[in-house]
């Protein structure tokens, strides 16, 4: 199992480093030393390479999850409960960086933000930073009004369906823009996607509140 997990290093040409345990050469991005089996510190592996997939916005979440679970099986601190302090600490770092990779790729907004940053493009600010796209602001305002006016579950369900469909279309546009290198468009679309997903979440929360009342 250990060796299987160390195979997907995707030869990024990072060369060798010294294994802290057996002092011999080990691939710079390997999870475990080929020679002595010791867990290594997380290397400079990007999230896509970590799961052995191409750098493409369209990801197969289920396939990534399978990889994620397989790697956690080998790297999680529970596997090192009886090992030395150093191995425990390394496993904690590895598991944390694996969690970060999976969480980032799982969500389309964080995945878009990550890919924009990889391309050297700073995404539009998250919360707190003003967005000055009049069309987006208008769209957001209309959605919010519709949600405020919705009084029963059926109406909210209709809004949720609507927002989800719009979000899916938007996600496809983000994919096309990012994969095609149209980063300026991708930045704007990512902001829009963030709004849409937040709106869907608020609609679900309102539905839950309505159900509880």
């Amino acid at each position: 199992m250990m060796n299987a997990a160390s195979k997907n290093t995707d030869a990024t040409g990072n060369g060798n480093k010294t294994c802290w345990s057996c002092k011999g050469p080990v691939d710079a991005v390997a999870l475990f030393c080929d020679t002595c089996g010791a867990i290594q510190a997380p290397g400079q592996l990007d999230h896509f390479a970590r799961f052995g997939i191409a750098r493409d916005f369209n990801v197969d979440i289920d396939a990534i999850e399978t990889q994620y679970l397989k790697q956690q099986q080998a790297l999680h601190p529970d596997r090192f409960a009886t090992k030395s302090a150093r191995e425990k600490a390394l496993s904690q770092q590895q598991a944390a960086s694996l969690n970060d990779a999976f969480e980032t790729l799982k969500n389309p907004v964080s995945r878009a933000v990550y890919m924009l940053r990889m391309a050297g493009v700073e995404p539009e600010g998250g919360e707190g930073q003003t967005v000055n796209d009049p069309a987006l602001l208008m769209e957001a305002m209309e959605m919010r009004e519709a949600l405020d006016d919705a009084g029963d579950r059926a109406q909210i369900d209709a809004i949720i369906r609507d927002v989800r469909k719009t979000a899916r279309d938007c996600e496809n546009e983000v994919a096309t823009a990012i994969n095609g290198g149209a980063y300026d468009a991708a930045r704007k679309l990512t902001t829009r996607l963030r709004y849409l997903l937040k709106m869907a979440q608020e609609a679900r929360a309102k539905k839950a509140r309505l159900a509880a009342a």
Binding site: A11, N16, C22, P25, D27, D34, A96, D100, F102, E103
Partner: protein, 637 residues
């Protein structure tokens, strides 16, 4: 004796007898505690030696002569010696006085808060944990919990006829960092090394999952004496993944008892009887209320006579009446459950099974509410009082003996920092898988500012004063710069136990300053050392033993690594190297049989020196191969 034994990488030889850990699972509950042990994935609760109940009431009696009694015997003294008995102490774990004001009135012992710390301690101290005045002693909740844990350890040792000093201890998923730290401290005081803190619902799911080989989404509804937890778990390919979790750390069956007490007192008041009662009467009345609650599980009506303050009244309580008393609390659990489903973007009908945990799930109104929410009858074929300990024991076995199963847990409450205007900036969102490491950059807002206050909070609200304050510290020594020029990186690390460490660093100048903070809601190191000294545990001996074990583990790792390298790159070894290394290994192995940690460490270092020339040759060849455009891996495979 063979001079050189070669093992396959990853195939560690069996540990020495004294290092083989016998680990139990402990459910440290608000009302009751249970200890269990697992062998070959068969878990069994440990009963007292006469084969009686598995349940140890989480009640401690402190006699005037210093004797400490735990469990049933202590519970029997609640009536006669109310001021010397502590129960439900779990509700106070990691709590400050502000937190317990609401429950303090219902507790029969006096709760106090110590003076704020001064001097060096004050800088890194969070709020102080409450103290209890019991039987002329002042105790922290951590010490009381440690007494319960000692009793459980003793029970396990009696049942297994062997020392037990490692355990998996369960905590409510909703326990915040302070309460988790306090629980770990209690174990340390009791002489137990915690292999892992596991969330109670996760442990319960583990108990069911392994038995049934279940795959799919499961909900665990856990209503205990003092806490409510709801968790969603996805089980697939041997991995138990917590999807989302929620709950209320101060809602449970004890509140049902209180509702009955209030109902009885209100009825007496309506008859013109004074409804103020003393601590002893309150305890007796709670006991009556508990009996009523339990009886109403099987019966529709219970009649009782209450004789306190010299006036006797009779009360007739129906199940419908009881249901009405608790309806608000049950509804609260349902709405928290809906929120948790929503967090995971899951509908009730997506849930494949519902697991019930906690004695309070025996209340028919609770079962009915759960069944109606999920549209299915919940699972309860494992005793709800024992299921958590059973799961904890399975996890203890998995951690010590290896397992194909894996638990992936999440952080239950968001972690953040105070920013301008008392607003919380979230750094780690709730339901983020752990372990996790996340950083955030901040800057100075004044020219020449040389220090920054870092205030760590936990909770979902937007304002600092509505969240729990975990720690405060000052990052000082920031070089003078214009406002906004400094780059201060604050990093949060949450380990697999859900425990947080925070550090901060100024990065622009290359001058690094790092301050690591452990939230101090538990107990600070000085208190801890004093308590260890005061208790029967031989702290020094424990520490020595731990360091010795660690030295042996490290030495063994070292030997295995060198041997693996010798096998892989045998052609780089000349006869001289081989003999030097073999001799160093033999010496180290001999030292490992002994008890001198210093010698083991010195010889481990000697082995490292002896094998350095060999390691250099291996690195040289690695570099040559890389330069020649050859991949080492492709050469080998």
């Amino acid at each position: 004796m063979a001079l050189l034994t070669i093992h396959e990488p990853g195939q560690t030889p069996l540990p020495h007898e004294e290092e083989r850990k016998l680990a139990v699972g402990i459910d440290l509950g608000t009302t009751n505690s249970v200890v269990a042990m697992s062998r070959d994935e068969k878990s069994e609760v440990l009963r007292n030696p006469d084969g009686g109940s598995a349940i140890v009431p989480s009640v401690v009696h402190y006699a005037s002569d210093g004797t400490v009694t735990v469990g049933e015997a202590a519970r029997d003294l609640i009536d006669s010696q109310a001021s010397q008995v502590v129960s439900s102490v779990k509700r106070l774990m990691g709590r400050g006085l502000e937190d317990v004001k609401s429950v303090a009135g219902t507790l029969p012992y006096h709760v106090e808060i110590p003076d704020a710390p001064t001097g060096d301690d004050a800088a890194s101290a969070g709020p102080q944990m409450v103290r209890l005045n019991v039987g002329n002693r002042v105790l922290t909740p951590v010490e009381v919990s440690a007494d319960i844990l000692r009793a459980l350890k003793a029970r396990a040792e009696a049942a297994l006829e062997q020392d037990v000093d490692h355990a998996v201890i369960t905590v409510p998923a909703y326990f915040d960092d302070a309460a988790r730290t306090a629980t770990k401290d209690a174990a340390k005081l009791a002489g137990i090394e915690v292999l892992r803190l596991v969330n109670e619902p996760t442990a319960a799911a583990l108990a069911y999952g392994l038995d049934n080989g279940a795959e799919g989404l499961y909900a665990v509804y856990d209503l205990g004496g003092g806490t409510f937890d709801i968790s969603l778990l996805k089980m697939q390919k041997g991995v138990f993944q917590v999807k989302s979790t929620g709950g209320d750390a101060a809602l449970g069956g004890d509140d049902f008892d209180h509702a009955i007490v209030e109902n009885i007192l209100a009825a007496r008041k309506a008859d013109g009887i004074d409804d103020t009662i003393d601590a002893s009467a309150a305890k007796r009345l709670l006991k009556v209320a508990r009996a009523i609650k339990e009886a109403l599980t099987a019966r529709d009506q219970v009649d009782v006579a209450v004789d306190i303050n010299d006036s006797e009244t009779t009360h007739s309580i129906t199940r419908a009446g009881f249901d009405a008393m608790i309806v608000k609390m049950v509804e609260r659990t349902v709405s928290i459950t809906e929120q948790v489903l929503d967090d995971a973007d899951v509908l009730p009908e997506d849930i494949k099974g519902v697991v019930l945990v906690g004695g309070s799930t025996r209340v028919p109104a609770v079962r009915a509410a759960v069944a109606s929410l999920f549209g299915q009858e919940p699972l309860s074929n494992i005793d709800p009082d024992e299921v958590v300990a059973v799961g904890a024991a399975l996890q203890a076995e998995a951690l010590t003996g290896g397992s194909d199963n894996l638990l992936l847990d999440v952080i239950p409450l968001s972690l953040g920092l105070e920013t301008m205007g008392g607003i919380v900036e979230k750094v780690v969102d709730r339901n983020t898988p752990i372990p996790v490491a996340k950083g955030q950059e901040f800057t100075t807002y004044q020219d020449g500012q040389n220090a920054m206050m870092i205030h760590v909070v936990q909770g979902e609200r937007e304002m600092v004063d509505q969240c729990r304050s975990l720690a405060r510290f000052v990052l000082s020594g920031i070089p003078p710069m214009a406002a906004g020029a400094a780059r201060i990186r604050v990093e949060f690390q949450v380990d697999a136990d859900g425990l947080l460490t925070v550090s901060a660093r100024e990065e622009t100048t290359g001058i690094e300053q790092e301050v690591a903070v452990k939230p101090t809601y538990g107990i600070n190191e000085i208190d801890m050392a004093n308590m260890l000294r005061d208790s029967m545990v031989n702290a020094r001996g424990d520490m020595e033993l731990r360091l010795l074990t660690e030295a042996r583990v490290e030495a063994r790792r070292n030997i295995l690594a060198v041997q693996a390298a010798m096998k892989a790159d045998a052609e780089l070894l000349d006869e001289g190297d081989k003999n030097t290394i073999a001799a160093a290994i033999a010496e180290l192995e001999a030292a490992m049989q002994g008890d001198d940690r210093q010698i083991i460490n010195d010889l481990a270092e000697a082995l490292e020196t002896a094998s350095r020339p060999f390691a250099e040759k291996r690195m040289d060849r690695g570099i040559r191969r890389a330069l020649a455009g050859q991949n080492v891996n492709s050469v080998r495979t």
